[in-house]
Symmetry: C2
Subunit: 227 residues, 2 copies
């Protein structure tokens, strides 16, 4: 399904080049559940945003379902992303001017779904995360954890084939955290491919395997412990 | 130092009233280190923003150093806040147009500190959180955990008498999380009063005691377990 070969990402700022990812090789099979862990600033979110076609690599190859996708234009990337990928951002990225309902509905609108279909899916996604009573509120009226749960619902609404989750339980108490993990588990059983960044070893153990990132490189489990 | 009696906070939105806090009583002594835990949406951030004079209660009394502060005007609250309180927000709240250095410097500028004093303190605060090399960068060029560390440095810069920390380690890996907890411990040993929201029981145990919040009320440890 997903194959990265010699992938790197460099951010150019006026004074310094930041090598966020360097020579990364990774294979993810269809239906696999991968955890990604590593220190703050090591490149996890950058890896997820390239996997999700939100950003392009500086060098290297990325093939998705045997198509090369590392040199696509922005509209082509958006077309594939809207169809295939659900994204839970580390900083929620909810749109402040839209209600909870509209935030969750937005990715479905991009897919061209009918309004009654959208309504049913939005309602179901918000119920799964216990946020249906707040659907007419705005993100600024919600607590941190409630916003995170809305962000989870937005990623699930379209039943994505690939789910990329960047610390989906970071702001949640253990009960809500476990509820989100249960949802990811159900999606996985339904055949979805999941790539989840987490700092919590309990949640990393729910995945099939863990990928360790350090200073922009993927390292083996032994090396990760030593570092 | 801090005393809340019969404190409540209601948010009025067009359709519904949300009772974020109801009849809260709390005493915090000078130099005490308190942890606050409770489910998502239970009122923890609301409690911290009232303690930090960022918001006003709907009813009830709040006395700080024997002065009643629950009916002060916004400028009066800002004057006390800038002198006494350091705040680590749950959503970082870094200003995107300012560099890392300027973000950490801002609270010190409000205090009317000289530019050379500010420079020394900003440099020291960023070194404590391992972010000095990035002082000329902007928040959008940092990872989630790096932004959180800058937010911690901003709260420490002025050596506040009261530190209010809202999940200060939420986005951090265990090494950086422990580094932030060590800083809070040093501040506490130096005499600061600390009130920290955390979902992590390991970190709650560093505090002198834990306050349990449930549906806007403070409940005893036994009741918190049952719920
Ligand atoms: N500006 C607001 N307008 C309306 N309701 C609000 C507002 N801010 C918070 N609330 C509501 O008040 C309640 C308490 O929110 P608060 O942010 O204090 O929760 P919390 O305990 O910090 O939760 P979390 O662990 O998710 O951060 C929630 O139900 C929330 O939706
Ligand atoms: N837009 C950007 N411009 C410049 N540098 C960036 C940008 N985004 C990320 N970086 C840098 O790239 C490196 C990797 O960032 P990334 O966000 O992938 O880290 P992370 O592993 O997700 O960290 P965290 O656990 O703190 O969220 C960091 O050093 C970061 O400062
Ligand atoms: Mg990240
Ligand atoms: Mg909160």
């Amino acid at each position: 399904l997903i194959e990265l070969v010699g992938l790197s990402k460099v951010f150019y700022t006026d004074e310094v080049e930041t090598h966020a990812l360097a020579d990364v090789g990774l294979r993810i099979n269809k239906g696999e559940y991968i955890a990604v862990e590593g220190p703050s600033g090591s490149g996890k979110s950058t890896l997820l945003s390239i996997l999700g076609l939100l950003d392009t690599p500086t060098a290297g190859q990325y093939t998705l379902n045997s198509h090369s996708v590392d040199k696509l234009s922005a509209p082509e990337r958006a077309r594939i992303r809207n169809r295939e990928v659900g994204f839970i951002f580390q900083s929620f990225n909810l749109i402040g001017d839209l209600t909870v309902f509209e935030n969750v509905e937005l990715p479905l609108t991009y897919r061209g779904m009918s309004s009654s279909d959208r309504k049913t899916r939005v309602q179901a996604a918000l119920e799964r995360v216990d946020m249906a009573p707040r659907m007419k509120h705005y993100p600024s009226q919600l607590s941190g954890g409630q916003q995170q749960r809305v962000a989870v619902a937005r990623a699930l609404g379209g039943d994505p084939a690939i789910l990329l989750a960047d610390e989906p339980t970071g702001n949640l108490d253990s009960r809500n955290g476990e509820a989100v993990m249960d949802i990811l588990h159900e999606l996985h059983r339904g055949g979805a491919t999941i790539c989840m960044v987490t700092h919590d070893p309990r949640y990393a153990s729910c995945a099939d395997r863990t990928v360790h990132v350090f200073d922009g490189r993927i390292v083996g489990p032994e090396e990760a412990k030593r570092l």
